[in-house]
Every structure is written in structure tokens, then in C-alpha cells.
């Protein structure tokens, strides 16, 4: 087990294309860190640099306090699980798991013991003599994890390990990986583009875009206090609504209607008011609540989910999603009032896209 430290780490491809721009990150021993961002944000490149599969263009990478920039992957003693599992079709499950021990100096009995132990942990014991072709997607992914486990590495690196699985299996494997981390306590760096995976698995989430780190924090921190519009929209599902607003003396105007909001000083006149769909409620029974942030909109579509209904509304030209409780299903075309508690609002400067202090 070890800490992983990135200091000004960067990756430049060929003709000056910067895939990763001088990022700093401290990963504590035993921490589960998830790198998340859209494709092309540099998260996989960062992971591959940690693994030693990609040359480091600048900065230093330390694993367990040792600078490993120039070391081969095998010298770093890390294990990696790939999106396509990278388990070998011509070997049995036992041989695949044992492949992680190829260079180890253990004798055959010890190796077998480790393979059996890993298989036991992952529930693969009945499949040890099978070929990967005879396994399901989830089982193959477990074989890949098993191969990583037997080595007893200082850190696990996961590169979008669940992307090839169907939704149901993905949810199941997510929990299994989380349990595995709790049991083994090994440092994990996990790359995904799926914010749900990031939220559910991570001790800390690192949001990346265009090779930069935008924000680092616990899932709750990121959800509650996104530093900019990108993170605000990226974390949370459905994504946060952003309503364009203009600052006035007493509050703001949204689509020509003035709305009362307490505003912090500073920032430009053009604002974006962020409100999460779950805190943006369409409920006629609570109409006229004093002090609430209230906006009128025309219902565009409704998605009843059972416990709640997602109400797509149009506020002027802006589309927004609000929720209606229980069995309240507004009619399409109807004008409704969506309300939010002032404390649940996020304010962003429309120009810089940075967050303003919460009202």
C-alpha cells in the first residue's frame, strides 16, 4: 500500500497537443480516488502515466514517496484493470489469475494458494478451469480483478472497468468493487466518465476537463459546492438547471420577470442561477410560500417515475427540469410555478462560469 503523488504532471503528444496540463494531486494511502470527466479530458492518460504505460512529459510522479518517472510498469508494483478486461482467451481462469504472478518467485504451491484465495474472494472458485469465453461479462471482469489482486500490489488502477457491462451488472459490480476496497484497503485510482460511479465509489472525486483538474473533493462537497458550471452540471443526475438572470436592485430578472433573491456582492451583472431538479419543486399545495425562489414555466413534457415526476418546463427560452411529488402529474402546456428554497440555489457568474458565494 502506498501514497501516490502527482506534482505538475503533464503529457504532451507529438506536435504540442497537451493531453494533461501540469496537474497536482495527493492520493493518500488506502484512498479511493475517482478521476471523472468527459472523453478526452486526460483522465485515462493520467492513469496510464501512473501505470507507466505512457511516458511522462513533465513533472514528477511519486509512488510511496519514491520518484518513479523513469521506472517500468513492473517496477512500480501497481496492478491495472482494463475496460476490455485484457484477460487472455487461450488461458483458463486459473492461468489468467496466475498470470499476475508470472514473475514472482513464489513456488507453485504458494502461487496456487494465492490464486485460490483470490478466486474465493471474488466467487470464482467454480470457474477456475474454464476459459474466459465460457464466462459472463461480470465474471470476466472479476477474473481481471483477480489477476490484479494476486500480485498484492501497492495500488490498483481501474480504467473504466464497468463500461462494457450492462446497467444492472454495472450496479452490482460497483458495489463489489466498493466492498473489495473496504476489505483490502488498498489505494485505488479509478477512471470513469460516469458520474454515478464516481459519486458512489469515491472517497474523493477529481473532476477533469481538457487536461486540467477543475475540482477535487468528496462526493458531497462536489455536489453541494461545485466551483464552476462544468462541475455543477457534471455531478448529479438529472443535471443542475441553470437559469440565465440579470442582476437588479432588489434581486434578479429571469426572462423579464423580477424574482427576489439575496445576492452576494461582486461578480458581473449577468448571472446563472443553478438549482438542482430535486430541489426545484412543482407543488400547487405549497404555492405562495413566502421567501421562496419561484419561477413560472410552461410544461413541456413529464416523466412519471413513481415516487416523483420529472417535469420539463420552459422558462422563457431556457429548458429546466423540476420535480413534482408523488402522483402530481401536471398537464403538458400548463403554466406551473416551480419553487426552490433560497438556501438551495447556486449562483454563477455567466461570463467566468465560476461559482459566486452561496446566498
Amino acid at each position: 500500500m502506498a501514497t501516490i503523488t502527482l506534482e505538475g504532471l503533464s503529457k504532451v503528444y507529438g506536435k504540442g497537443v497537451k493531453a494533461v496540463r501540469e496537474i497536482d494531486l495527493d492520493i493518500a494511502d488506502g484512498e479511493f480516488v475517482v478521476l471523472v470527466g468527459p472523453s478526452g479530458c486526460g483522465k485515462s492518460t493520467t492513469l496510464r502515466m501512473i501505470a507507466g504505460l505512457e511516458e511522462i512529459s513533465g513533472g514528477t510522479l511519486k509512488i510511496g514517496g519514491r520518484v518513479v518517472n523513469m521506472q517500468d510498469p513492473k517496477q512500480r508494483n501497481i496492478a491495472m484493470v482494463f475496460q476490455n478486461y485484457a484477460i487472455y482467451p487461450h488461458m483458463t481462469v486459473r492461468q489468467n489469475i496466475g498470470f499476475g504472478l508470472y514473475t514472482s518467485k513464489l513456488d507453485k504451491a504458494q502461487k496456487n494458494q494465492r490464486i485460490d484465495a483470490a478466486a474465493e474472494t471474488l466467487g470464482l472458485t467454480p470457474y477456475l478451469e474454464r476459459r474466459p469465453a465460457a464466462l459472463s461479462g461480470g465474471q470476466r471482469q472479476r477474473v481481471a480483478i483477480g489477476r490484479a489482486m494476486v500480485r498484492d500490489p501497492v495500488a490498483f488502477l481501474f480504467d473504466e472497468p464497468l463500461s462494457n457491462l450492462d446497467a444492472q451488472l454495472r450496479a452490482q459490480m460497483r458495489i463489489e468493487i466498493k466492498r473489495l476496497h473496504q476489505r483490502l484497503g488498498t489505494t485505488i485510482v479509478y477512471v470513469t466518465h460516469d458520474q454515478v460511479e464516481a459519486m458512489t465509489l469515491a472517497d474523493r472525486i477529481v473532476v477533469m476537463r481538457d487536461g486540467d483538474i477543475l475540482q477535487v473533493g468528496s462526493p458531497t462537497e462536489l455536489y453541494e459546492n461545485p466551483v464552476d458550471i462544468f462541475t455543477a452540471r457534471f455531478i448529479g443526475s438529472p443535471a443542475m438547471n441553470l437559469l440565465p438572470a440579470t442582476r437588479t436592485a432588489g434581486g434578479v430578472t429571469i426572462d423579464g420577470t423580477s424574482v427576489q433573491v439575496a445576492l452576494p456582492a461582486g461578480g458581473g451583472d449577468k448571472l446563472l442561477i443553478g438549482v438542482r431538479p430535486h430541489e426545484f419543486v412543482v407543488d400547487p399545495s405549497r404555492a405562495g410560500q413566502p421567501g421562496a425562489f419561484a419561477v413560472e414555466g410552461v410544461v413541456d413534457a413529464v416523466e412519471p417515475l413513481g415516487p416523483e415526476t420529472l417535469v420539463h418546463i420552459k422558462v422563457g427560452a431556457t429548458e429546466a427540469i423540476a420535480t413534482a411529488p408523488g402522483r402530481v402529474v401536471p398537464a403538458v402546456g400548463q403554466t406551473v410555478t416551480a419553487m426552490a428554497q433560497p438556501g438551495s440555489l447556486h449562483l454563477f457568474d455567466a461570463k467566468t462560469e465560476k461559482a459566486l458565494p452561496r446566498p
Partner: protein, 309 residues
Amino acid sequence: MADTTADPAPKGRIWDKLTIGQKRVVWAWVFLAIPIVFFVVIRFYPTFWAFWLSLTNWDLMRPARFIGLANYQRLLNDPAFWQVFRNTFAYLIIGTPISLLLSFVIAYYLDRVRFMHGFIRALYFVPFLTTAAAMAWVWRWFYQPVPIGVLNNILASIGLPAQPFLRSIEQGLPSIMVTAIWAGLGFQIIIFMAGLRAIPQTYYEAARIDGLGEWPILRKITLPLLKPTTVFLVVFSSIGFLRIFDQVYNMTTNDPGGPLNTTKPLVLMIYQTAFQSYAMGYAAAQTVVLFTILLIVSLLQLWVLRERK
């Protein structure tokens, strides 16, 4: 309007009664029928006829007369046949492994080269596009004595004795084999490269993370995963060497298969027996022998290289 939908053409009625699956089968057979008819008339019928001919003394002039296994007896007692038999297997046993090894090594390294990759690949592939006759004549020129032959000129310039190459009973066969290997190399390289490309990059990355070096990766991952490609090329290349003809014929036109039959393969012998001696029955017996050899060698290779479950 209502009438047309209620009462379609009688032909359409039969077609409409077929299920989708049956319609597909009908269509498939419509397309398959043409090549099948073609192959039956042009290929299979003469093939089976050759088996019959091999038991006759047909010489184009008189009608064929059944003579039992006399042709085969004659073949077994013919020292020229055994010389040709040895030659054919020399082409096979030396040519196939060397050409496969060479093409694999080239493909393996070419796969990693980014600089002028397409151009280099094209260079290797050009021989495959060239007419065998033209190629053979160029190589024949290479092998000429000083001052015409390039190879002997090179040898002379570095002070080595000139070599007879095609004029020698020892060097004739290897000289022709070099040409044949070179001719087939481009194709084999392309196939090997396609096989190598089909192996996901992550297999190698995972192995590197597990600490394997180049050699174990090659032995444990690349070669086993390349096996279907290798099987195909072994069989394909073996059949090619067993049927070698153009190179030999064109490089030894003065005395095809010479000197002293030392470069003559079975196909050339068949050609001479049939179209110079007009001993059609005897030639047919030789083709049956060739057919049997091809069959046995291919089946043997498929069995040796079979997928073990």
C-alpha cells in the same frame, strides 16, 4: 384496387406462401447455383475423371484402355519420379518454415514502425503483384555469371569466388527457392500483420504491468493468439510450395527442371509427361499422387495445429 390485393398473381402466391427462412434459402441457392455448376463442370468432373485416366494408357491418339495400376507401378520404379519427389518435399520442408519465420519477423517489427510504414509495407507487397514469369526472369538475371549477374558482381567486388547458382546441381534448387520465398513474402506479411493488429493492445499492456518482458510476451501471448493466422499460412504456404511451377519453369527454360532434374517439382514433371510426352494416363497417375500428398500434408498440419479444448 381491392381486387389486386385479394387476388395477387399466381406466381406471387407460391412465393408468398414461403416463410422468411425458406425465402432466404431459395435466394442463397439461386446465387450459389452458378459457382456450383461452374465448379462441377470445370473442376470436380475433370478431377474425378483424372482418377479414372490414371488407370488407363490414354495418349490422346488412341482411345483410353484400362490398364489397372500399371501407371503407378511404373511411377514407383521411375528414378526420375523419386528425384522429383525429393525436390518437391525440399521446396516444402525448407521453404515453408523459412518463409513463415521471415514473414513473421518482418511483420512483427514492421507493425511497430511508424516511419514510412505504408511505403515499406508496399515494398514488401509488390512482388506479390508481379507476374511470376517477369519476376523469375529478373532473378535469373541476378544469378548470371560476371559481368551480367548482379550477385556474382557483388561477390567479385568483395573478393569472393563466383557461384554457379542456377547452373549447379547443388545450388539450383535453393536459388529458385529464394525467389519463391521472396515472391510469397508480401502476402504472408500482410496476413501476419492483420493477425497482429487483431490482438488488443491492452493484452500487451496488462502483461507489461504484470512484469513480463518482450520474449515471454511473444511466447505466452502473441504466438498463441496468432495461432489461427499461423495455421492458415502454414497450410496455404505448404500448398503453394507443393504446387511450385512458374518460378522453376521460367528460371530454367533451357532445360526445365534442370540441371539433371535437380530443381524439378512434381507439377513440372506432370506438365512434361502430359504435354511433351503426351502420356496422359501416366500424367494423371502423377496428379493423383500430388493430390494425395497435398491432402495428407494439409490434414496432418490441421491435425497437428488443431485447437485443443
